[in-house]
């Protein structure tokens, strides 16, 4: 029997969550509403009447100070009532906690325990809404995402006639199944092969299908399969495993393709055999060699590109690892669940790096269309404000509940992200340099080690995530690809695993991400040389999964370990004690086979070599032709003060405090430079700094660069600027250029020429050029890439239109800061200090914020002058070490004008500045000098007594003293003409108003 336990606030308790929903109805949907109140509903299955009475009496589901509780409907005094519940199979975190709590309170054991299920739903009681259509709109566009949730509603009249909603259990019904189907590949035509791939979200190309067919036609393979009693044709699971392992997501086929590159500007053609090997891995190799030979800190890279995260040395006792991921496609369909899963998912990368890292901090970068977007949305796309809010909240819950501070991030706005938002989530972890006397960044699964899966159970969630994200988003994209993370189950697993690590209870660890067990076990088995596993042992959330589904499910919060047999008992005992489910599933061996059973039935038997090395190399064409862009001069502007305030309010520049404050950025107590700085904590910070070792003054800087707009002019300079921006941001807080490492995250639109992508050659040429720049600038700065990721199909197709994102690279930097007490922040500190601009301004207004604001076109993309920038960054570090600099801020979006304004508003300190002598090319008008986005520039303040020492350090470099800070307004002049005079409070207001939600 099902009980509906309803929990509502007592009359004297203000319903602030209801008020928030009412605000959202008004602000986000623009609809009228007088009041919203909320009632929480727990639908309980598996208890009798006495037991449910005990639950109510024990206060297990309510707080007697706050709530009233009833088995009858509680709702009264409303015009309309909406109830939102989860669809069957969707992760119900609160339901799980309620279930555990009731088990404990009632002391249930055995089958009684298994029978108890709790499903949560939420009621919203509306007063003053405008009829049924409005209620439906609120339900659909704000309260429920029908992909994962269901809703029902009643008017007050209907409620009076029939109070309450029917009790519903969001139960997954299904029979357990050991069915393994055989796919008759050999008899299929090419059309049928393509149809099979598409219908099953396999994302396999025809060539790949042929390669698979050929493998099964091999007489040796046939004979072997016959001996084992296996079908000559592939099983469904084998096809699925191959599809996962060979997916773009897992194999990075475009980055490893053989590319014929034609540059029409130079008339040259050449071949690139793997962008990854040539540029990314190649440049890191060169940099490491140089560092080993002559770097002041030696080659601090410990593990690059081979593990879940890249690892560098932080100190003799501590190593640091870093990984950034994207979770774009799921976030497009369900922004909250997609982003939540993105962040808790990337947490597992450091957790599964080396012997397992402690989680230190997160960083998040989002790319959205304007939240103020107006007009019709193409089918299946959500409004950007809804995407924004969902993603923000998903990352909030994922990060905050996991106890990992979000120390750095940004939001980039461009209308093309309407088709697919980008959700970059990164996590940095620390490893004790040695675990059980061995270097912690190394691991190896040995033959004989037991395969153990720990954490959550397996369900249908996330099936086909890897292959799904290797396709464009379309109207029929599968809902199972969406899942909801569970930070607390993960936290419990993490607590357990860190203990198990320190006790030396396993030999290797990796996470279950894309491809689930299929990938995690398959990858670990490359160390040992094979494995055998029984899926019938795998713990399931519910019956009804077929073996192939168990194998590739991407259900969250799971890690796979290689546990030596003699440690297994201790491992399992500790796991049980700490409330974590761990299950031995099989054994690693050296027999060369990917052998999976379900009981006695063989599910897969593939050669490890074929699985991992069998994917054919793609051969692609790239053709670079410089886009023809009109080049107009920057207009002269009468009201420069007004322009400055408009610039500060632009989406890409304005304050993101709304997001920042909702993210815990100082849990763990290590924070040294926060995301918001200044006298009132409302100025933008350049980078985050924290102390990984609480007992030490040594710091870690975390920064990033991202400049997608420049890709419209030349992706080479887009990449160069992203690297420069990331490095510059780190330098701005006082980091040492000589001890940094980078992470590249490419998000591209489909660059493979086809009927639906007629400009594939150009998009691929953009990719080639971005990679060339990556190699040039990483080497130039001596900042090696140690990890990275690519997401190559960020296109949307539907309703007869295609939207492709601008090619976007997030370049993230981590670096070691010798002493956090010498860090710098961007706020002007006090009146009477000298203000310097470092670096040269050119008429580089192409794709700039000001060009967009004023509506003119410019063809000149900012270029990075490597040598001068490098020298500037090294000198600035020296100046900061000597204590000569009191504040520092980089010039990026909005150039010098915006940088000066941000420094002034952050410190609530004005300045009297004359920009006449700022280093610049000749002939720049005021608008250009103030807002050109030339790279590598910084603004610093210096106390008058340090003037000589500071200028001596920078002798021969491009810099100018513009004037002094004051206790008055920000006044800028040029050649004795005042350009603008603005009160710092007005600048702060302009900066903060746009996203002041």
């Amino acid at each position: 029997m099902l009980f509906r336990v309803e929990v509502g606030l007592k009359r004297h308790v203000r319903d602030v969550q209801g008020e928030r929903v009412a605000r959202k109805v008004r602000e986000e949907l623009g609809l009228g509403v007088d009041q919203v109140r909320m009632v929480r509903v727990y639908t309980v299955e598996g208890l009798d009447e006495t037991q449910i009475a005990d639950v109510l009496k024990a206060g297990a589901l309510h707080d007697p100070v706050l709530h009233e509780i009833s088995l009858q409907p509680l709702a009264t005094d409303f015009d309309w009532i909406v109830e939102v519940g989860l669809r069957p199979g969707v992760t119900d975190n609160e339901g799980r906690t309620a279930q555990e709590t009731l088990n404990l309170v009632l002391g249930l054991q055995g089958s009684d325990r298994d029978a108890l299920k709790v499903y949560t739903s939420q009621q919203y009681l509306f007063s003053g809404v405008d009829g049924q259509a409005t209620v439906e709109r609120i339900a659909r566009d704000l309260l429920a995402n029908e992909l994962i949730q269901r809703f029902e509603y009643k008017s007050a009249a209907d409620w009076t006639a029939a109070p309450g909603f029917e009790a519903r259990a969001a139960r997954v019904t299904g029979e357990s199944s050991d069915e393994v189907a055989v796919i008759p590949l050999s008899s299929m035509s090419d059309e049928e092969l393509i149809a099979l791939s598409r219908a099953n979200t396999l994302a396999l190309s025809l060539e790949e299908m042929h390669r698979i067919r050929d493998y099964y036609a091999d007489p040796a393979v046939r004979a072997e399969r016959k001996d084992m009693g296996l079908s000559p044709e592939p099983t469904d699971a084998e096809i699925e495993v191959l599809a996962q392992t060979w997916s773009e997501h897992c194999k990075h086929k475009i980055f490893t393709a053989l590319i014929d590159y034609e540059n029409t500007e130079t008339g040259q053609t050449r071949q690139v055999n793997s962008l990854f090997k040539t540029y990314i891995q190649g440049s890191t190799k060169v940099i490491r060699k140089a560092k080993a030979e002559s770097g002041p800190h030696g080659d601090y890279c410990l593990s690059v590109f081979k593990d879940n995260a890249g690892v560098i040395k932080f100190s003799d006792d501590l190593s640091v690892c870093v990984k950034m991921e994207t979770h774009n496609s799921p976030s497009a369909l369900d922004p909250y669940g997609g982003a939540l899963t993105g962040i808790v998912g990337v947490n597992r990368d450091p957790m599964g790096t080396g012997m397992g890292a402690n989680l230190l901090c997160n960083t998040d970068v989002f790319c959205f269309a304007s939240p103020f977007h107006e007009g019709e949305l193409p089918p299946r796309l959500l409004h950007p404000r809804r995407v924004f809010e969902g993603v923000r909240e998903g990352v909030e819950h994922g990060g905050n509940k996991s106890g990992i501070p979000t120390v750095n991030g940004s939001v980039v706005f461009d209308e093309r992200y309407l088709g697919k938002p980008l959700v970059y989530c990164g996590t940095i972890g620390t490893l004790p340099a040695k675990v059980q006397g061995r270097p912690s960044h190394e691991k190896k699964a040995l033959p004989g080690d037991i395969i153990v899966m720990s954490g959550g159970r397996i369900g249908k969630d996330g099936i086909h995530g890897a292959t799904f994200s290797s396709e464009e988003l379309h109207e029929g994209s599968p809902a199972t690809a969406v899942q909801i993370g569970d930070p607390i189950t993960q936290r419990r697993m993490y607590d357990f695993l860190m203990r198990a690590r320190d006790l030396g209870l396993y030999n290797a660890i990796t996470d279950n991400g894309a491809g689930g067990l299929s990938s995690s076990v398959g990858e670990m088995a490359q160390d040992s040389g094979g494995f055998e596993m029984d899926l019938a042992k795998a713990p399931l959330k519910y019956d009804g999964l077929r073996p192939w589904e168990i194998l590739i499910s991407e259900a969250q919060e799971r890690m796979t370990m290689a546990v030596p047999p003699e440690k297994l008992e201790q491992f399992l005992a500790l796991s049980k004690e700490m409330g974590v489910e761990s299950t031995p599933l099989g054994t690693f061996d050296d027999k060369g086979k990917y052998l999976v059973r379900y009981g006695e039935i063989i599910v897969t038997c593939l050669d490890m070599d074929f699985l991992h090395d069998g994917v054919p190399q793609m051969r692609l064409e790239a053709r670079w032709e410089r886009p023809q862009v009109q080049d107009q001069p920057a207009p002269d502007v009468e009201d420069q003060g007004g322009l400055l305030k408009r610039m500060l309010g632009r989406l890409n520049i304005c304050s993101k405090e709304y997001i920042v404050r909702q993210y815990d950025h100082e849990v763990q107590g290590r924070s040294a430079v926060k995301p918001m700085v200044g006298v009132h904590g409302d100025g933008p910070s350049d980078a985050g700094v924290l102390r990984p070792d609480l007992k030490s003054e040594r710091g870690l800087v975390v920064s990033h660069g991202i400049c997608p707009r420049y890709a419209d002019l030349d992706a080479y300079w887009m990449m160069a600027n992203a690297i420069d921006e990331a490095v510059r941001n780190a330098v701005a807080v006082g980091a040492d250029l000589r001890w940094m490492a980078g992470v590249d995250n490419f998000c591209w639109c489909d660059p493979v020429q086809s009927e639906s992508t007629p400009d594939g050659r150009y998009k691929l040429a953009q990719l080639v050029r971005a990679n060339e720049a990556l190699a040039h600038f990483c080497q130039g700065y001596g900042v090696p890439c140690i990890s990275g990721k690519d997401s190559m199909k960020n296109d949307y197709k539907g309703g007869g239109i295609k939207i492709s994102i601008p090619p976007t690279v997030l370049y993230s930097v981590i670096g070691v800061i010798p002493d956090v007490n010498k860090c710098l922040t961007s706020d002007f500190k006090r009146a009477g200090e000298l203000v310097y601009v470092l670096g040269r301004t050119n008429a580089e207004l192409g794709a700039s914020e000001v060009a967009d604001e004023l509506g003119f076109l410019s063809a000149r993309v900012p270029q990075v002058d490597l040598l001068s920038a490098r020298q500037r960054y090294l000198t600035l570090f020296e100046a900061a070490q000597q204590g000569l600099v009191s504040s520092c801020h980089d010039c990026s979006d909005g150039g010098l004008g915006v940088a000066l304004a941000e420094m002034a508003l952050a410190g609530r300190v004005g300045a009297e500045l004359d920009i006449t002598d700022a280093p610049a090319e000749a002939g720049l008008n005021d608008t250009s000098l103030l807002y050109a986005e030339s790279a590598s520039r910084l603004v610093v303040t210096v106390r008058p007594e340090h003037r000589n020492a500071f200028e001596a350090l920078f002798a021969g470099q491009a810099l100018a003293c513009l004037g002094e800070t004051t206790s008055g307004p920000l006044r800028l002049q040029r050649s004795n003409t005042t350009l603008l005079t603005e009160e710092v409070e007005d600048l702060a207001h302009a900066f903060k108003s746009t996203l002041n939600w």
Binding site: N93, R96, I488, R492, R661, Q668, G669, K674, K829
Partner: protein, 269 residues
């Protein structure tokens, strides 16, 4: 002098255990062990071996069912392998004269367990609760606090003002009824209040009072003064560079001062 042995409790979603243990040591504790709830339940660790319990911040059970609600029930119903209720151990620990500090989620736990405020000496009866901030948002921001010199609280003795961060979504005190709120005042159980930075007076004004808590209540003590629960995070101000505007030369008393008060009390007892 009595050695101060701190038990820093964690597990099931607590996440401030590292810095809390670090802060306890900086504040002068002779030892600070991070202990999982499961260690207590397994009988591996006994509370009686300690004299200072710290319940750190975090998200016990993800705030599902309300902050620390599920954890409070876990404490009420868990037993050690010998069949003894864990809560008995807790009660004995408190009776032995030990100190208890609950921070943020740890405060929520103490309140939901009924250890705070224990008006009228009625321990383990829920008299107040902590509920959603008026903004219905989780927020991370620094707040100004004042202590109550009339309060029996041993942690705040000799302290006046503090500047520390809050990081919570459910920090507003809701009393069982109005009379209870009066009793909190009359019995001087309000140990810490949010104040306006300029006037120094307790405030309801956002964001100085970040959650709308009545009387600006930021922390409560019990009649014995040996228990303190507070929403702000003193352990998060353990180093001068934690201060949000330290680069402007702003500093002042570290949040550690509160823990030092507790350690001093134990040592001098």
């Amino acid at each position: 002098m009595v050695p101060v042995n701190a038990l820093v409790l964690t597990g099931y979603g607590t996440n401030c255990e590292q810095e809390t243990a670090h802060a306890a040591k900086l504040a002068g504790a002779d030892s600070a062990d991070i202990v999982y709830f499961s260690d207590l339940a397994a009988g591996k660790v006994r509370m009686q071996d300690y004299n200072f319990l710290l319940c750190p911040g975090g998200f016990l059970d993800g705030d599902d069912l309300g902050a620390a609600q599920a954890a409070a029930l876990r404490w009420r119903h868990a037993t050690t392998p010998d069949g003894r209720p864990l809560l008995d151990q807790f009660k004995e620990f408190f009776k032995s004269g030990a100190l208890i500090l609950g921070i943020c989620n740890g405060f929520q736990l103490l309140v939901k367990l009924g250890l705070l405020p224990a008006v009228g000496g009625k321990y383990f009866e829920r008299q107040v609760s902590l509920s959603h901030n008026d903004s219905a948002r989780y927020e991370d921001r620094w707040v100004h606090l004042k202590t109550n010199p009339e309060s029996p609280c041993v942690f705040t003795r000799g302290l006046d003002r503090l500047y520390v961060p809050v990081r919570h979504g459910e920090g507003k005190i809701i009393p069982r009824d109005e009379s209870l709120l009066q009793q909190l005042e009359q019995n001087e159980l309000i140990a810490l209040q949010y104040v306006h930075p300029e006037t120094g007076d307790p405030t309801l004004e956002y964001p100085y009072n970040p959650n709308g808590s009545p009387l600006g209540i930021a922390g409560l003590t019990d009649p014995s003064g040996r228990v303190l629960g507070m929403m702000p995070h003193p352990e998060a101000y353990n180093h001068r560079t934690n201060h949000p505007s330290w680069t402007r030369g702003d500093n002042g008393k570290l949040g550690l001062a509160l823990l030092e008060g507790g350690v001093r009390y134990l040592k001098e007892r």
